[in-house]
C-alpha cells in the first residue's frame, strides 16, 4: 500500500461531460488519459510522479471497468518497453516515470521504440525532477528527445493546458507514428486548479482484444536493413508529419501584440514564471495579457521553423527563456537565424543564467536585463532608476543550519547504520558505496557511511573495481527497491559471476519507501493485484550467493554490528550478503496506529512504548545522537547553573522503536535512557500486582528519603 491513498479523489475520475474537476495536476493527467481512450498504463514511481503511480493503482478498479490494463512496471526500462504494444496495435498506451534519471534507465527501450515507430498513440509522462526539491543530479530529459527523435511536450502549468497536452500528445503520436514525451515539472505535478471534464472513453481496441488477434511485421524490427529505413522514415516522413500536426492544431501559442520590436520565446512550463516577471514589471495583467509578444512552446521538440520565423518577422530582439543546460532550444533557434542571415539579436543564456532553476527572482532579473537592452523605455521608472534603498536585513547564513532530509523517527535503517558505525570504530574505515533510496541518508551526518551512488540498484556494481579483493573488503548498500529494479542482475549477479569477495547490505524495509511506500516483490503485505511475499534471500540463492545472513529485526544493533563484522572478517571467499529487514516505520505507523487506537477504545490491553532520558544522569556529551540523528531525540537546556551543555531529550513523537536503548547498550554509552511502556487497559491481576509492587517500592523510597536531605527537588 502506498503512503498516500487517493481512493477518495479517484471517485472524481468518474466525472463526465459538463462537470468541473478541481484538484491536483497528477489526478488531472489520469483523468485526461481516461478521457482519451487509453488502452494500457504503467510506469515506475519516483518524485515528482510517484503520486501519479499511486493514483493509477488506486484507480485500477475504474480502469478495469473501461478495459484499461494497469501495470506497475519493474523499472522505467520495463515501462518504456511496454509501449511496444503500440508498435503494431492501434492502442493508446501511457507510461510514467521521473526524468531525467528514469529516462536514463528507459533510454534503451525508448530508442528501440522510436526506431520502430508506433501505430497507436504512445505517451511517456515524465516528471522532470529539476530545481528546488529535486533529489537527483541536475540534468535535462530534452536531449533524449533529440537523440531518439521523439517529440517533447512541455505544456503551460495549469490543468486545462496539461490535460489538453495529453489529448494533443496522443494525436500527435498517431499523426507522426512517433512516441511523445509529456514533461511536467516538480511543481506542475502538484499544482492545483480546475478544468472542464469530458466523458471517459473505453479504448476502441483493448489489450485483451488485441492479444486475441496477434500481429507482427518484420519491417518494424530494429535489424538491418530495416533500421536504416527507420532512420530515413523519421526524417522524411515522421518529422514533417509532426510539424504539420503541430502547426495545424496550434499546439504552440502566441500571446501579446502582433506587432512589436521584440518578443520572448518560452518553454510552456516556464510560461507562468515569465508572466509573473512581466506582471511585476507592469507589462502583463493578472490574466496574462501581455505587452510583450510571447511565443509559447508547448512543444519544445521539434521546433517548427516556419512558426518561429513568423514570430520573428519584424522583430529586432528575441529572448529565449529556457531552463536548464545545455541550451538546446537557444542553439537551435540561433542556427535558424544564422542560416537565414537574420540580423535580429538573440538573447538567452546571457541575460539569464546557464545553470540552475529559473526562480521568480532569476526570471525577473533576466527579463529586466533583456528589456534594459532591447526596450528600456518599457521598464517602470523604479527599475530604471531605483531611489529607495532596500533595508539591510541581518545575514543569517551563519546562524541557520542546513536541514537535509534524513531518516524518519523510528526508521529501521537507523540501527543498521548505527551498527555499521560501530564496526567502523572497531575495524576502521571501509570502502562503501551507497545506492538510491532512503538509506542514502546514511551518507549524511551523523553516520557518514557511504560515498558514491551510481544509480538505482547499482550500489554493489559501483564497487566492482574492488571485487578482486584487498586488505579490507568493500561494502555496498542496496535497498529492496533497488534490488528488484536492477540490483539482482547488475549488482548481485555481477558479483557472483566475477567471484567478488565483497560485502553487500540489503536494506529491506518491505516497500519502495523513498518513493512513497509502493509495494515491491518482497513486500510483506497482501496485495490483491500484485504478487508480494517473494523473499530477497531466495532470489539471492537463485543467482548463486552462498553466504547470506538474514536479520529479521534491524533494531538489534548488536546483531547488525556482529553480522557486519563477521562478513568483513570471515574466511569465506565470495560475495557476502546481509539482508536486514524491518518495516518502514512511516508505513508501519500508518498501518498500526488506527488499529491501536481502536483497540484502546474497545478496552483491550495495549502496550505503548516510548523512550525517555533521565536528565540528571545525562552528562550532555551527545554521543547517543552521533549514533542516531532521530528527529525525536533532541536536546534540551536545563535550568541548572552548574550545567554548560544541553542534555539529550526525547519528545512525544517517539514511537518507541528501541534504537536508543540498543545503541546505548551496544555502544556502551550511558545509563540515561529508559523505556516506559504505558499499559492501557491492564488486566485485573496485572493491576493488583502493580499495586503490590508500587507499595513495596514506595515504602523503600520513603524510608530512604526520610533519612536524607532533599535538596534538589526543584532541579529537573
Amino acid at each position: 500500500m502506498a503512503e498516500r491513498s487517493f481512493k477518495a479523489e479517484v471517485e472524481h475520475l468518474r466525472k463526465g461531460a459538463g462537470d468541473t474537476f478541481t484538484g491536483e495536476g497528477i489526478l488531472a493527467i489520469t483523468k485526461a488519459l481516461l478521457e482519451n481512450g487509453v488502452g494500457y498504463v504503467g510506469g515506475y514511481q519516483g518524485a515528482p510522479i510517484s503520486h501519479l503511480m499511486d493514483v493509477l493503482a488506486d484507480a485500477e478498479e475504474l480502469m478495469a471497468e473501461l478495459g484499461v490494463r494497469f501495470e506497475a512496471n519493474a523499472s522505467e526500462a520495463a515501462a518504456a518497453a511496454m509501449l511496444a504494444a503500440s508498435v503494431h496495435y492501434p492502442i493508446r498506451g501511457a507510461v510514467t516515470f521521473k526524468g531525467p534519471v528514469g529516462v536514463n534507465v528507459a533510454s534503451d527501450a525508448l530508442a528501440n521504440l522510436c526506431s520502430s515507430g508506433v501505430n497507436g498513440g504512445a505517451l511517456i509522462i515524465v516528471g522532470e525532477d529539476y530545481g528546488e526539491g529535486s533529489s537527483i543530479m541536475q540534468e535535462r530529459s530534452h536531449g533524449f528527445a533529440m537523440k531518439s527523435q521523439f517529440w517533447l511536450l512541455d505544456p503551460r502549468p495549469n490543468l486545462p493546458s496539461i490535460t489538453k497536452a495529453v489529448k494533443d500528445g496522443f494525436e500527435l503520436s498517431e499523426a507522426s507514428n512517433t512516441p511523445v514525451m509529456l514533461m511536467v515539472r516538480i511543481r506542475s505535478c502538484h499544482v492545483t486548479g480546475s478544468f472542464e471534464t469530458r466523458d471517459n472513453v473505453a479504448p476502441p481496441l483493448t489489450v485483451k482484444q488485441a492479444i486475441a488477434n496477434p500481429q507482427s511485421d518484420f519491417n518494424r524490427v530494429v535489424l538491418p536493413p530495416m533500421s536504416y529505413v527507420h532512420e530515413q522514415d523519421k526524417i522524411k516522413n515522421r518529422w514533417p508529419a509532426a510539424e504539420k500536426f503541430i502547426t495545424e492544431n496550434k499546439l504552440n501559442e502566441v500571446f501579446g501584440p502582433e506587432k512589436a520590436p521584440l518578443g520572448i520565446v518560452v518553454q510552456g512550463g516556464m510560461y507562468n514564471g515569465l508572466i509573473r516577471a512581466l506582471q511585476r514589471l507592469g507589462l502583463a495583467d493578472v490574466f496574462g495579457n501581455t505587452e510583450v509578444p510571447i511565443y509559447c512552446l508547448n512543444v519544445t521538440y521539434p521546433i517548427v521553423r516556419d512558426e518561429f520565423d513568423a514570430f520573428c518577422a519584424g522583430k529586432d530582439h528575441i529572448l529565449v527563456v529556457e531552463e536548464g543546460q545545455p541550451e538546446h532550444i537557444e542553439q537551435q533557434l540561433g542556427a535558424f537565424l544564422y542560416k537565414a542571415g537574420a540580423k535580429l539579436k538573440l538573447y538567452g543564456k546571457d541575460v539569464l543564467p546557464m545553470a540552475g532553476e529559473y526562480t521568480g527572482q532569476v526570471m525577473l532579473d533576466g527579463v529586466t536585463a533583456f528589456l534594459k537592452a532591447a526596450a528600456p523605455e518599457m521598464l517602470p521608472g523604479k527599475v530604471r532608476a531605483p531611489n529607495a534603498e532596500a533595508p539591510q536585513i541581518p545575514d543569517l547564513s551563519k546562524t541557520v543550519p542546513i536541514r537535509p532530509p534524513g531518516f524518519c523517527t523510528g526508521c529501521p535503517e537507523r540501527p543498521i547504520f548505527a551498527g555499521m558505525k560501530l564496526v567502523e570504530q572497531e575495524l576502521g574505515k571501509h570502502q562503501i558505496t551507497g545506492d538510491i533510496g532512503c538509506h542514502l541518508f546514511g551518507s549524511l551526518p551523523p553516520f557518514e557511511i557511504g560515498g558514491a551512488t551510481m544509480g538505482y540498484g547499482l550500489g554493489p556494481a559501483a564497487n566492482a573495481a574492488f571485487d578482486g579483493g584487498g586488505d579490507r573488503r568493500a561494502i555496498s548498500m542496496l535497498g529492496d527497491g533497488g534490488f528488484w529494479h536492477n540490483g539482482l542482475s547488475s549488482s548481485i549477479g555481477n558479483m557472483v559471476f566475477n567471484k567478488s569477495d565483497n560485502v553487500v547490505v540489503i536494506v529491506d524495509n518491505y516497500y519502495s519507501a523513498a518513493t512513497g511506500g509502493q509495494d515491491v516483490l518482497s513486500s510483506r503485505a497482501h496485495n490483491d493485484t500484485k504478487s508480494t511475499g517473494n523473499p530477497i534471500s531466495a532470489a539471492l540463492k537463485g543467482v548463486g550467493v552462498e553466504w547470506i545472513r538474514q536479520i529479521d529485526h534491524t533494531y538489534d544493533v548488536a546483531k547488525v554490528r556482529d553480522t557486519v563484522r563477521e562478513a568483513l572478517l570471515t574466511d569465506f571467499k565470495g560475495p557476502k550478503v546481509i539482508v536486514a529487514s524491518s518495516e518502514c516505520m512511516l508505513n508501519k505507523q500508518r498501518r498500526e496506529k488506527p488499529l491501536r487506537t481502536a483497540a484502546i477504545k474497545e478496552g483491550r490491553r495495549v502496550d505503548v512504548p516510548r523512550f525517555g532520558v533521565d536528565a540528571d544522569v545525562c552528562t550532555g556529551d551527545h554521543a547517543c545522537i552521533r549514533l542516531s540523528g532521530c528527529p525525536s531525540l533532541s536536546l534540551k537546556r536545563l535550568d541548572d547553573p552548574l550545567r554548560d551543555d544541553p542534555v539529550a531529550h526525547i519528545d512525544q513523537t517517539c514511537v518507541g522503536c528501541g534504537n536508543c536503548g540498543e545503541v546505548a547498550d551496544a555502544a556502551v554509552l550511558c545509563p540515561s535512557f529508559y523505556r516506559a511502556d504505558v499499559v492501557h487497559n491492564p488486566g485485573g491481576f496485572e493491576r493488583w500486582r502493580a499495586g503490590l509492587r508500587g507499595r513495596v517500592i514506595g515504602w523503600l523510597q520513603e524510608r530512604r528519603a526520610g533519612k536524607r536531605l532533599s535538596v534538589l527537588e526543584t532541579a529537573p
Binding site: 526539491g133 502538484h190 499544482v191 507592469g282 518599457m378 546562524t399 556502551v668 535538596v711 534538589l712
Partner: protein, 512 residues
C-alpha cells in the same frame, strides 16, 4: 519598423493577488495547512492555486508550500508556481530556524510581508551532534525577523497545538486567521477545518489557541521562575542543622559567588552527605583565599561550579540512586501522560564493563585489579554485557536501590580515590599561574567542562581535558594564554574525536 512600446499602467489587479508561502519541516503537516487555506479561499469566492513538492525532501527536510489567490472572475488568472523573493504577502514558518530560512531566502520584506512563525525548535542534526552546545541562536533570527517583516507574529505554535491535543498546522491556521492577513472572517476558516473532516474537534481547539496568540500581543515565553537550587530543603532535624551550618558558611562568602556555591553545595550534598558538602566548601574557601573583589570573584565563581561537578562524579552508585527515587517515578508518569487506570513499566539500559566493576572495589583492591589485564578480562567475562533492568519489578528495583544506598562505602572505592586525585591535580594546575595570570587560571578551571559521559565517552573527555591542560603549559607566560585556552576548550567541544582540538594545538605549536 515598429514603434517602440511604452510602459503601461500596471494592472491594479496584479497587486491584489495574495501570495502566501509555508515553510515547514517534512512531517509537520504543511500539506494539511495548505489544503485548508486552499479550501478556504475557494469557498470565499477566490480563484486559488497551490503547489507543493512531494518527495524525499519531505522526509524531515525543509520544504515549501505555496498558495496564490485572487477574487474569482470569468477569466482565469495566471499564478506563479513558486514564491519569489520580495513578493510574498504572508510567510508562515513552522519552526524558528525555518523563520530564519524564510528571511534568508528573501521571502520576508518590510514593505509587505506578514510573518507568522513558530518559535519552537526542531534541532537540525548538525546542532545536536556537537559534543558541546551547538544549538543555533534563535535570538539572532528573532532580531532579523523584527527588521524584515512588516508585521510579525511569533509564538510557540507547536506547544499551543500540542496543549490542545492537536498538531502545529491547526495553530498556524489559527494564527493566520488571527493575523487578519487574509480578507476572510474567522468562521470561514473554521468551516474549512470542518470540511476537512479529520480530527475536527482537536484542530478547532488548536486553531483557537493560534488565533488568540495572533490577536494578543506576542505570547511571552512561559517559564515559571525557577527557585534557586537549595532554596527548598527538608529532611531530618539533625541533618537540617548541619545544612544550616553549611549555608551559613556560604552566607559569609562574597555575593557573586553565593548563588553558584549554593547550587554546588546542593549537588554535592545530594550526591553524598553534609560532611562531603563541608569538604566542598573547604575547597572553595581555598580558592576564595587567593581571590579578590578586583576581578569580581570570577575565579571563585568558576571554582564553585566546577568543583561541585568534579566532586559529584557519575558513578554507578549515583546513577542507581537517581534511578530509584520516587520523584523520578512521578516525573516519568507526568512526561508519559499516564492517565488513571494505566500502568507504567520501566526498562533501564545498563552495560557495566570491567572498569566500572573495578572502580566499585575498595581502593587498593581496585587499583590492583585494574593493573592486571587478566583479572580485568575475567571481570569482562562475568559482567560485560547489556543488562536490561525492569525497575517496575521488585527484583531489579531492589538491586538498584541497594546499589544506590552504598553512599557510606563510596568514599572507600577505587573510583573515589581516582576522582579525588584528579580533583587535587586539576586544582593545583589551574591555580598554579594565578599570581601571574588570573584569567588563565579561570579558563583552566573551566576546562573541567570537558569531562563528561560514561565509559569510552568519559575516557575521550579525560583525554581531551589532558590535551588542553598540557597545551596550556606551552602557553604559560603569554599574554593571550587565557584566550587560547578558551579557544582550545571550544575546539574540543566541536567534534567527538578531537580533530578541531588537534588542529588548534597544531596552530599553537606553530607559533610557540
Amino acid at each position: 519598423m515598429n514603434m517602440p512600446l511604452q510602459q503601461q499602467t500596471p494592472d491594479a489587479r496584479v497587486g491584489e493577488i495574495i501570495k502566501l508561502a509555508v515553510l515547514a519541516v517534512g512531517g509537520q503537516g504543511g500539506g494539511v495547512l495548505t489544503g485548508w487555506i486552499e479550501a478556504l479561499a475557494r469557498a470565499q469566492g477566490y480563484a486559488c492555486q497551490a503547489t507543493s513538492v512531494a518527495g524525499v525532501a519531505q522526509r524531515t527536510g525543509a520544504t515549501i508550500y505555496y498558495v496564490e489567490m485572487t477574487p474569482q472572475s470569468d477569466q482565469a488568472p495566471v499564478f506563479a508556481l513558486a514564491p519569489s523573493g520580495g513578493d510574498v504577502d504572508v510567510m508562515i514558518a513552522a519552526e524558528m530556524m525555518e523563520v530564519g530560512r524564510s528571511i534568508m531566502r528573501g521571502f520576508v520584506t518590510p514593505d509587505r510581508t506578514t510573518l507568522i512563525g513558530s518559535t519552537h525548535r526542531a534541532l537540525a542534526v548538525s546542532e545536536k551532534m556537537a559534543p558541546g552546545d551547538g544549538i543555533a541562536d534563535a535570538d539572532e533570527v528573532r532580531a532579523a525577523a523584527e527588521i524584515a517583516a512588516q508585521r510579525l507574529i511569533l509564538a510557540d505554535m507547536d506547544r499551543l497545538a500540542i496543549e490542545q491535543g492537536s498538531v502545529i498546522s491547526s495553530s498556524l491556521f489559527g494564527a493566520l486567521a488571527g493575523s487578519g492577513a487574509l480578507p476572510f472572517p474567522r468562521a470561514a476558516f473554521e468551516e474549512a477545518i470542518c470540511a476537512g473532516g479529520k480530527g475536527v474537534e482537536a484542530s478547532l481547539r488548536g486553531f483557537a489557541a493560534g488565533y488568540d496568540a495572533a490577536q494578543g500581543d506576542e505570547v511571552a515565553a512561559v517559564s515559571a521562575p525557577v527557585e534557586a537550587a537549595g532554596g527548598k530543603v527538608n529532611g531530618p532535624a539533625a541533618l537540617m542543622k548541619e545544612w544550616q551550618t553549611l549555608m551559613a558558611r556560604i552566607a559569609a562568602m562574597p555575593g557573586p559567588v553565593q548563588d553558584m556555591a549554593k547550587a554546588g553545595l546542593a549537588k554535592v550534598v545530594d550526591f553524598q552527605d553534609c560532611a562531603y558538602g563541608g569538604e566542598y566548601l573547604d575547597h572553595l574557601d581555598g580558592v576564595l583565599a587567593r581571590d579578590s573583589a578586583a576581578r569580581d570573584w570570577a575565579l571563585s565563581a568558576a571554582a564553585a561550579k566546577y568543583i561541585a561537578n568534579a566532586m559529584a562524579y557519575d558513578d554507578i552508585i549515583r546513577v542507581a540512586d537517581l534511578k530509584t527515587r520516587s520523584t523520578r517515578f512521578d516525573r516519568i508518569t507526568g512526561e508519559m501522560n499516564v492517565e488513571e487506570g494505566q500502568l507504567v513499566e520501566l526498562t533501564e539500559f545498563f552495560h557495566p564493563r570491567a572498569e566500572e566493576i573495578a572502580s566499585l572495589m575498595p581502593a587498593k583492591m581496585g587499583a590492583k585489579w585494574e593493573a592486571d589485564p587478566r583479572r580485568m578480562a575475567m571481570l569482562d567475562r562475568w559482567f560485560n554485557k547489556g543488562r536490561r533492568l525492569r525497575t517496575h519489578r521488585l527484583r531489579s528495583f531492589v538491586m538498584l536501590h541497594l546499589l544506590g544506598g552504598l553512599k557510606g562505602y563510596r568514599r572507600r572505592t577505587r573510583r573515589h580515590e581516582v576522582e579525588q586525585a584528579h580533583l587535587t591535580e586539576w586544582l593545583r594546575q589551574s591555580l598554579a599561574p594565578l599570581e601571574r595570570d588570573y584569567a588563565l587560571s579561570v579558563e583552566l578551571l573551566k576546562c573541567r567542562r570537558l569531562i563528561k559521559g560514561y565509559s569510552d565517552t568519559h575516557v575521550r573527555g579525560l583525554s581531551k581535558f589532558a590535551t588542553v591542560m598540557e597545551a596550556a603549559k606551552l602557553l604559560d607566560g603569554r599574554e593571550d594564554a587565557a584566550d587560547w585556552v578558551a579557544r582550545l576548550r571550544e575546539a574540543a567541544l566541536q567534534d567527538p574525536d578531537g580533530k578541531a582540538l588537534d588542529g588548534a594545538v597544531q596552530t599553537i605549536r606553530s607559533f610557540i
